[in-house]
Symmetry: C4
Subunit: 296 residues, 4 copies
């Protein structure tokens, strides 16, 4: 299990003029405070260390959260500064906020983060290169595989520990009108069944699986109750490795370096620009203004 | 259980020129008339008093509803005048409509309301202060906790009895095209399972839980049947306190004043303006016009 | 059970320039042809007569459908001419298309329709009056009750046989990108459970229930299989009256006229214009341009 | 079962300026690479040949996918060049890309495709004619029937093997914010139940059924596990024909030619222009600017 701790960061970016007064969404997101307390307490009870991808701004704004995570011995990894999507930033901007997020984490837990997860899946064409240059061990933002693989960049290699958007708790439990996010929340056990079935499939193949959970969603009582019970059952199996992303990455790195494991390798960026064929389409659209409609 | 009684108030605000002729949504919302009758009858059968957050305009437009609630001994609490979002109002406007809603309730039940729930989660930066000044005992609009806590304002303290948007019946059962609210309605038992699981989690921790139900949704036959059965089972347990929000608030107030309970305390407003870091982002967006897109 | 037969009428109205070439939605809607055949065959097997609200244009464009319904002895009721929303029409326009739809039905089944259901819930402020003047016995477009009631108009009385949008099969089974209607289709048995629970609640109170089903949705094999099985179980009960809307309306009319039943009475239109209080809000919005946002 | 292999083609068309850097959606779609490997391996284990509708550009960009499909003996059918909607193309453009897609498939598997499925349901008024002229045996883009039928065009006949949008895995499992596609993903077993019930209904009538599955959705571990189990159960029945679309089409063609089967026949295009009645409505809208609203 991995957690994304965002608080109200994204709300301010999305609604720069009045997000600070949208108390429906904001008080919902600020549940992260209570949520992190509960999650840390549960993990301590279960004897587990986990990974929390935390926005730098959240560590500044809500310092008690970083202290709790540090005291619990959990991994605090990088999740942007203010939940900015890297691919909407200039290259310099992406670099600037990456560095600033690293500083926030260093101040909180004493060491630089080893892993990054792009806020809102906004991995950019230079993200992998920036991460390799900054000494990151792993990324967990991409979905083109289910098992770990190696990213090749001009500045060196990174491990990818893939995530999938459906492993987020948002599509199962969240309902946030201020984000245009209108979804039918599932009962805790119904939503948990999704994650359990994903786990069973990973378990059968001895594979890797990570979550994209949020304290303001899965830190609520009913869901804490659901996933705690599930984790207890996994601990009883005895052959499931419940650990931090960093531990998985170190294990993979070492297995790859020793030759015990040959990771699939993918070179990033996928593209440096729009594929050439797309330009040809500009000549054949019946009505260019309506060409790109998906929904009408 | 707490109910929000809105009738067609919001429809007129959202569609000021032609909402009065959108009979699909309007006749749906006007089901509140039949719904309140049924709910009051069921609650009488079960021997329960509950809280109804009612818009002031609804008490003027549909006086029989206020009479039914008063006759049944239920709490009539404040839910705006016409379901206006306080955070879209000027400070003077918010105050004006708050006062007018208080008058409507006084006329209906003889006493001023003790509690408020912000329509459409539109709690503003001055809402808490206004409520404290107007002598309210509690608010039930925020979601940053699951248990009651104390709000500190410049004008004194308020109790917060937190709600969560997923405890509304809308995301489970409503389908309102005129509001752009397209959702797959759950079967009554499937939707009820959501609320039952939320209750079980609250019950295990001895916690507080409130609903955001609407007579035009949960006053329909199939859902009355579902929640009545559930309430009967809770009454059989013997250790569940089913009461008005005001009773809970008085209990909390008294426990806090006697020192038997130390509530968590939060100071409002959270922010007086947009956090400073947001301005820095205006310098690093690659394309400011597209910077705030969440969905593309 | 009542059916709405729309074919591709609405698609042409919504996309007047290119709807005729949107083959995804169009071929989906034209499944009505196959759907009606199957439904009529199943109803014959079950020995049932039902009501089909059919757009006049569909009777002209797909005459075989009208012939099948007439031959099966089913009620063909009025559902607009081209699925136009009455409340987007001028008063003269609404009258013109109402008359034209009546003519289409007369030509098809030899008699004028006795009932009307507003396409897309677009009942207008003059609809009830127009229906009463045109000699209709009942309307089935409104949702402010679950049991039949009487509508009072300046031109006389009408029976209302209420429907509810969640009794449509669209929110349970349809997925129509061309209409911006993106919904997760339920398995046939899961969707059917919604309707079964609605029925059980109506059954317990001896109440009335109607559906808003469409041949292109509920005429598909998997759903025909689901509702046929359900109807067979209802027939086995022996105390469920499965009949046309017209039969229900005649029964209600007669019970009301004889004094055996005193219907609730509601006067239409609800409003002749926007409620006065709405105008007052124009003075208190903080930012009128953003005042009517429901979602941001 | 039939598969649509699109990779990131559509993303570039929908976001021509920056789709190449939307790594959330892109890495999700590029899972097609891993997905096809797994599907081909499973089908080999089960001893099945299936149909893959593949965009021409994907065969150029990801040649290993075409090689895997060819090596496995699967049918590679036509799915546009870059997932362009034919009905947004000029007639010449549609023809140009149809030819280019044929060339891509010829280069990959040595023979021209015999079947076509319109990307995004964008079948145009000339699609059927173009397919007949190009020697296609069948189309699988339309939804006006569940059983195969014959399309008549000015250039000859085609078989239609109908599909339905709800037989796609997207509405059950996908969640793609970049496409405005926000849906609650079902647990693998819940989504599979939809397809199983559709199958049972087809099985009971001895009918035809095809899927619209995508390797980036149904090639994920949990879903491979679900459908593999289902296919094994079908193989155990012994009377289910699991084969390619081409085999079904050849079987139908032969049965029709021999007179053993008389297919329903439909002439395409349905319309050459917007139905005349639509123009009449321009005279009766109350407010033409708002006439075509479906949602408000």
């Amino acid at each position: 299990m991995a957690w994304d701790v965002d608080f109200d960061s994204d709300l301010h970016l999305l609604h720069p003029s009045d997000g600070f007064e949208q108390y429906g969404a904001m008080s919902n997101f600020r549940f992260d405070e209570v949520g992190v307390e509960r999650i840390v307490a549960q993990l301590e009870r279960l004897g587990l260390k986990q990974t929390f991808f935390v926005c730098g701004w959240c560590l500044e704004q809500y310092p008690q959260v970083g202290e709790l995570l540090a005291a619990g011995g959990h991994e605090v990894a990088h999740h942007g500064y203010m939940h900015e999507r890297a691919n909407t930033q200039s290259a310099a901007g992406e670099h600037q906020w990456l560095m600033r997020g690293i500083e926030c984490i260093k101040r909180t837990v004493g060491v630089a983060p080893r892993g990054w997860r792009a806020p809102s899946h906004g991995f950019s064409k230079q993200s992998a290169d920036l991460l390799a240059r900054a000494g990151f061990l792993y990324d967990s933002s991409l979905s083109d595989d289910e098992d770990p693989y190696e990213i090749q960049t001009e500045s060196g290699a990174l491990l990818e520990l893939p995530m999938d958007i459906t492993m987020s708790d948002w599509p199962h439990f969240a309902h946030v009108p201020e984000f245009g996010y209108l979804m039918p929340p599932k009962a805790a056990s119904d939503g948990m069944r999704f994650f359990e079935e994903e786990f069973e499939a990973a378990y059968e193949t001895g594979g890797f699986l990570t979550t994209v959970w949020h304290p303001h969603v899965s830190g609520r009582r009913s869901r804490v109750r659901a996933w705690s019970g599930f984790l207890e059952r996994l601990l009883d199996r005895g052959d499931v490795w419940l650990t931090t992303m960093e531990s998985v990455a170190r294990h993979c790195r070492s297995a790859a370096d020793s030759g015990a494991w040959t990771p699939r390798r993918r070179t990033l960026p996928y593209y440096k620009e729009t594929p050439a064929a797309v330009a040809e389409f500009s000549k054949t659209w019946r009505d260019p203004a309506r060409a790109v409609r998906f929904l009408e």
